[in-house]
């Protein structure tokens, strides 16, 4: 393990969902009474759903479609959401994950037949990488791609969707403890592999 004690950040006791003044439960209850109140949930979650979806599909358009389908499913199925079975965030990202899998299944079939159809997307991705991704980001994405699918999903649900371990467990059908262990191991693996590539440079950055 390459990371050193001095480089490790330990989370302190942190407040529950401290950043959000109105709890999801209250917003959901309001939206069940009046669908127009769904606006607040939409505003709160759309950026996170998009970041998660965009990291799992190959184009902006596909990610936006998934966001759209997820939000529509959530809006139409809000009555079925039961807070006793988990958080709204967990429920919403379960929908998003299912939508992504559905899409990948359809896309996989087409890709098998006509992979070149996606040339424009590939061009765009390359260009985006060239324009606004630093070497570090590109390297991180490369390492993320090498991870087993579920480990990668846990990391994305953590950092792109900003879910807790319990919520990630809700999405993936795992216990929170198991998620925590997998996340820790995956982060250690990522750190190790990234540090093996560029230990010098990261040390310099930290010193600065």
């Amino acid at each position: 393990v390459v990371h050193h004690a001095a480089n490790i950040q330990t989370g302190a006791d942190l407040p529950e969902r401290g950043g959000e003044a109105v709890a999801d439960e209250a917003l959901v209850a309001a939206a069940k009474r009046d669908q127009r109140a769904f606006e607040a949930l939409y505003t709160r979650y759309v950026p996170r759903v998009y970041r998660y979806a965009r990291a799992r599909v190959t184009s902006d358009v596909a990610a936006a479609d998934i966001v759209s389908e997820t939000m529509l499913d959530a809006l139409e199925g809000l009555e079925r959401f039961d807070p006793a079975s988990g958080t709204f965030a967990g429920w919403l990202f379960t929908i998003a994950a299912r939508r992504i899998v559905d899409r990948q299944r359809r896309r996989g079939r087409l890709l098998r037949v006509l992979p070149r159809v996606w040339e424009p997307d590939a061009t765009r991705e390359d260009a985006l990488d060239a324009i606004d991704a630093s070497d570090d980001i590109a390297r991180l994405q490369q390492q993320l791609r090498r991870l087993p699918a579920q480990d990668r999903d846990i990391v994305l649900l953590r950092y792109n969707a900003e879910l807790s371990s319990a919520e990630i467990g809700q999405v993936l059908g795992m216990k929170a403890g198991a998620v925590r262990v997998r996340l820790m191991r995956t982060l250690q693996r990522l750190a190790r592999e990234l540090n093996e590539e560029l230990p010098q440079r990261q040390d310099q950055e930290r010193e600065q």
């Binding site: 950026p47 098998r112 037949v113 807790s164």
Partner: protein
């Protein structure tokens, strides 16, 4: 972005450098205001009033500052501009209708019970216990139509996706404009028609969306959006910057510029007629340029294109004079798109296929035009090594009017698709190609590849 630890209130160990990197990686992905606006319209939420609102709202939401936006008071449904088909309003109409009907039945049954002197519980009467919620509204889903349809029908959003120009013109009551000649650098458009729910004043509004792809050698692929709508609807918010009146070919056009939240320049051209209103819009990022937008507006507003049906008739007339055996699309017994039953939504790669004996021809939009077309080929069956490498090299077309005129068209840029990506499909080989059809009209197509054959009748439309 908010502090993740604040959100998740969990302790765990991670290298600060990796944590920063993971957050930076996530922060790269931001939805555009246009995407946000489309989704809001689909959900029946408040449209973002300017292109910067959505991004600002998004960043507020991520930082946890949503208090000010909680439970917004929306304008009454009927006061909202008609932008896109709104499933919620349709659902609400259904529910209101069903509730109204249930109430009438309930009152009727109560009256009958009173007159009969029965003290029965009205809810026990047949018909009263039925749920007032209509099934169609409750089961709306965002499914994707996989089978190409000759006669398009709207999806649950009221959207006709990936349709041809002719199909769009058959649906929409106002003139659908297309450029007489597509300016160089632009791809043929993807066409979508959005149908509104029935209006209280009668009829529906229709909105035609066309996306012209723009590709550059060193820049990401972008698109220019052309919107067309009848005068009752709202096309969308124009950029809020400088407004300049311009006249193109005698038509007064408003040029509106501005920037979005990310500082990207926006440019729109807007004009209206008695029958419809039109908007050409794009983000000015390479390879999209103001010159390209202007060329597109001019091409759309050429006298030919402003009256497309007349122009088409005129071209047909000219063709008739030049080629006396021209056949109209109606008289052409075209082969239906009968290939693999997959098709994905517009803006990705719709695929319509003609299936032959082991060989299929695919087009992106389900329409073949004069000029260069991208044609994809699928093979199912045994091929010799040479065929495997080369793919189809010529396509023989025969004019389908009795003249027997026949041409061999060379396929260009034939590129084999990596077959490792086709592990379990029936398709044994696939290629992409470019082929130029010289004349519009009804043509019989014949392609051979080893033992594989494809014969079909296609109509080549004027581009």
């Amino acid at each position: 972005m908010s502090d993740l630890h604040d959100r998740t209130h969990e302790q765990y160990e991670i290298e600060p450098g990796l944590e920063t990197l993971l957050r930076r990686n996530a922060a790269r992905y931001e939805m555009t205001p246009g995407q946000d606006q489309r989704i809001r319209a689909r959900l029946g939420l408040t449209p973002a009033h300017d292109v910067g609102t959505a991004a600002a709202a998004s960043s507020h939401a991520v930082s946890g500052d949503v208090t000010a936006r909680t439970l917004p008071v929306l304008p009454p449904r009927e006061a909202q501009p008609m932008m896109l088909a709104e499933p919620q309003s349709r659902r609400r109409q259904w529910i209101e209708f069903a509730l109204g009907a249930a109430a009438i039945v309930l009152v009727g049954v109560l009256l009958v019970a009173i007159f009969r002197g029965l003290g029965e519980d009205p809810a026990s009467q047949p018909g009263i216990s039925a749920s007032p919620e209509p099934t169609p509204a409750a089961t709306a889903t965002a499914t994707i139509e996989l089978t190409p349809q000759v006669a398009p029908t709207p999806d649950e959003m009221g959207m006709y996706r990936g349709i041809t120009l002719e199909q769009a013109r058959a649906i929409v009551p106002f003139p659908v404009l297309v450029p007489g000649v597509v300016p160089e650098g632009l791809d043929a458009p993807e066409i979508t028609v959005v149908e509104s729910p029935p209006l209280a004043t009668g009829g529906r509004t229709y909105r035609v969306e066309m996306f012209f792809g723009v590709s550059g050698s060193e820049a990401p692929r972008r698109s220019i959006q052309v919107l067309q709508l009848d005068p009752r609807g709202t096309l969308g918010t124009l950029p809020d910057g400088e407004s300049t009146p311009i006249t193109f070919n005698g038509v007064a056009v408003e040029r509106r510029s501005g920037t979005n939240a990310a500082g990207t320049p926006l440019l729109a051209y807007y004009w209206r007629t008695d029958e419809a209103q039109y908007q050409v819009f794009a983000m000015l990022e390479p390879p999209v340029s103001e010159y390209l937008l202007e060329q597109l507006v001019i091409a759309i507003l050429t006298p030919e294109a402003t009256t497309p049906d007349a122009a088409q008739a005129q071209r047909a007339q000219e063709r008739q004079e030049r080629i006396p055996f021209a056949v109209s699309p109606d008289a052409c017994d075209m082969t239906g798109w009968n290939g693999p039953d997959f098709r994905i939504r517009q803006q990705e790669a719709a695929a319509y296929f003609l299936d032959g004996a082991g060989l299929s021809l695919g087009t992106t939009h389900g329409v073949i035009t004069t000029g260069q077309n991208r044609i994809d080929w699928l093979a199912r069956g045994e091929l010799s090594t040479g065929d495997q490498l080369r793919g189809p090299t010529t396509i023989t077309i025969t004019r389908n009017d009795g003249s027997g005129e026949s041409l061999d068209l060379a396929l260009q840029q034939v590129t084999q698709v990596d077959t490792r990506l086709i592990p379990d499909a029936e398709v044994t080989r696939a290629w992409t190609s470019r082929v130029t059809f010289p004349e519009e009209g009804c043509w019989s197509v014949r392609v051979e590849l080893g033992e594989l054959r494809l014969e079909a009748v296609v109509y080549v439309y004027p581009s």
